[in-house]
């Protein structure tokens, strides 16, 4: 009975027939017109061209930026040997005796990113588990947008927040010897900044886990905690890891907060209570000065930017690879 087409109550033809007749009539009109098919009007072609231009523009801009980065980086390495850049941990680009050991900056960046992740992974994952598995729909409808607004707070505000709120607490705990500018304070606010990325993307991944898996786990006598942590979280593994790598790449590229709160001290030390300088903060410092465009200080900007670019690009690629390689296919 369900297989039969519903009939018109007045005894007309089945609706399917009507529909196919209509489709017959409209077939010509419904064909999507292709460029160059001769059917497209002039306006259509103009719009088509304009849309094509806007779509390719951003791609060209990206290519242009990368080309400039490459050319200037090559220029830099004509004057400074490769080994001085990648083989040293001493950085003093603005001193009379210049040293360009980029590891000091990479280290500063890495330390801030690691502190940030140490804050953001537990907070973000707990928030994701709560939103996906525990919160009633109404609570979630309120909390999730607020969390995502957090991602929209200007990062300069976070930098200031680090100085006036986080650093004083750190000094209370570790003593007055700790400077107001330190890696820990900057790292913590960077962590808060990337919590929404981890929470929101992980929650999406967890909600995409089919309901049938949860039911299967409940039917074996799992508590809600066991379902969340032992079934849903592992099943959403690829999405969760991708969200963490994405957040890490955001932390690595973060500029304003670490420029303000990190202190401009390029160094290769393990103490998070000391001031550090990240690649981004160094770029800010050099760009703000009156560096002549022909000088070596100007050229090193591009070499550092190139390093940063390659680093974040690699992380994004890894994130994509992970999310594809470990994705579970559910029906």
């Amino acid at each position: 009975m369900a297989a039969q087409a519903p009939r018109d109550p007045r005894g007309g033809p089945p609706q399917d027939t009507v529909r196919s007749l209509l489709a017959e009539l409209w077939r010509d009109k419904l064909q999507p017109s292709r460029p160059g098919s001769g059917r497209e009007t002039l306006t259509g072609r103009i719009i088509h061209g304009a849309l094509f231009l806007t779509a390719t523009l951003s791609a060209f801009v990206t290519i242009g930026i990368v080309l400039v980065l490459i050319f200037e980086t090559v220029e830099f390495f004509r004057e400074v040997p490769f080994i001085d850049f990648f083989g040293s941990t001493k950085w003093s680009a603005l001193f009379a005796e210049k040293q360009f050991g980029v590891w000091a900056l990479v280290w500063g960046t890495g330390m801030i990113a690691l502190i940030g992740l140490a804050v953001a992974i537990p907070l973000g994952l707990m928030a994701a588990v709560f939103l996906s598995e525990y919160s009633p729909p109404r609570v979630r409808a309120i909390i999730k947008p607020i969390l995502e607004i957090l991602a929209g707070v200007p990062t300069v505000v976070f930098g200031y927040f680090a100085l006036v709120s986080v650093s004083p607490v750190i000094r209370d705990i570790f003593g007055e010897d700790v400077g107001i500018y330190n890696a820990l304070s900057a790292g913590i606010v960077v962590g808060l900044m990337i919590v929404p990325i981890i929470a929101s993307l992980s929650e999406d991944a967890m909600r995409a886990v089919p309901r049938s898996l949860r039911e299967g786990a409940y039917a074996l006598g799992s508590t809600r905690m066991e379902v969340s942590l032992r079934v849903v979280l592992p099943a959403a593994f690829s999405g969760v890891v991708a969200s963490i790598i994405l957040a890490a790449s955001r932390a690595v590229g973060e500029t304003m907060a670490v420029t303000i709160a990190g202190g401009g001290n390029p160094q290769f030390g393990v103490n998070p209570l000391e001031a550090v300088q990240t690649m981004t903060a160094m770029i800010v410092q050099l760009s703000l000065g009156d560096t002549p465009t022909t000088s070596i200080e100007f050229k090193v900007l591009f070499a550092v930017a190139m390093t940063l670019f390659v680093l974040t690009l690699a992380m994004n690629i890894v994130a994509q690879w992970v999310s594809q390689r470990f994705r579970e296919e559910y029906e």
Partner: protein
């Protein structure tokens, strides 16, 4: 039973003492038009509910005893005052057209309905002298004793081994896990096919194998009852036959309740059959219950006869 049913009670729950006395007195008094009969005991016709319950002639214990079980989703009543037994170590089939409340009833047995917001159950399901529907009974504990297999195979995205070990692990099983896994897989008739690739993902198996993996997973928790919600409806005929054979074998150790759309299947695998039907207002009611052979050869209700002869829905 090895385990004491008292473990099902939250120890501090109020009213636990009162409920500890497995007396009919604590159950809500049945409506006057419903006759109480534990194990059948002759044919009864309820004036309003009009359920026919055939006599159970063999000597068999009852794993569950339903009394006036109703279920609601919000204000919608899905099933209405069902009263029937579920015999122990037998296969009981719940049959009926779509929307008659078969799955809803099945999900009452292990309190899966608790997971649906707004779902509510009334009446009594007696299990070892206690009422499963009592809010003081911990649903998580109930599900450890009453396992479930779903319509679509739903193995976890873990290895075959971990799929089977999962339930035992969360229940704090401390014995020989390898042996438990092998045992469960053997009972689910899957061991010979997977014994060399236990590390392979459960999702890499075929549909029929996945479903047997899900059965093994349920068995590994060592339940007393296994509920199956149309376990073969997503499978091809060969895989279906394997699942059916398996149900017959499992009935030696477990009580099985199976929901099925397929009357031939009910006829092949079940010892007892309950026919459910929803009327105009879409509330599911029990029409007839009894030994499968009786239901299929000598149905007493015209609607049962219409359904099993294919003149219905």
């Amino acid at each position: 039973m090895a385990r004491n049913f008292f473990t099902l009670m939250r120890s501090s729950a109020p009213g636990a003492t009162a409920a500890a006395e497995p007396d009919r007195a604590t159950a809500p008094p049945p409506p006057p038009n419903v006759k109480q009969d534990d194990a059948g005991g002759g044919v009864h016709l309820d004036p309003t509910l009009a359920a026919v319950r055939h006599e159970i002639t063999e000597a068999v214990d009852m794993a569950l005893q339903l009394r006036n079980v109703s279920a609601f989703y919000g204000t919608f009543q899905a099933i209405d005052r069902m009263t029937m037994p579920i015999p122990q170590n037998r296969v009981t089939a719940l049959i009926g057209p779509s929307g008659c409340g078969k799955s809803t009833l099945l999900r009452c047995f292990n309190r899966m309905n608790d997971l649906i917001p707004g779902a509510r159950m009334e009446g009594e399901i007696e299990f070892e002298g206690r009422n499963l529907l009592d809010p003081n009974i911990d649903a998580v504990e109930v599900r450890r004793r009453i396992g479930m297999v779903f319509q679509k195979p739903n193995p976890f995205p873990k290895s075959i081994y971990e799929n089977v070990a999962f339930g035992a692990r969360i229940n704090g099983y401390s014995g020989d896990m390898d042996r438990l896994v092998e045992d469960a897989l053997r009972r689910a008739a899957l061991w010979d096919e997977v014994k060399d690739e236990l590390d392979k993902s459960g999702l890499a198996l075929s549909g029929g194998q996945q479903q047997r993996l899900c059965i093994a997973r349920a068995i590994a928790v060592q339940p007393e009852i296994i509920l199956m919600d149309e376990p073969a409806s997503a499978l091809d005929p060969v895989a279906t036959l394997k699942i059916e054979d398996l149900m017959r074998e499992l009935a030696e150790h477990y009580t099985i309740v199976v929901v099925t759309h397929n009357m031939q299947q009910a006829g092949r695998v079940s010892d007892y059959t309950a026919f459910l039907l929803a009327g105009e207002e879409r509330v599911g009611r029990l029409v007839e219950f009894g030994p499968t052979q009786e239901i299929f050869t000598n149905p007493l209700d015209q609607r049962t006869e219409d359904y099993i002869t294919g003149r219905y829905g």
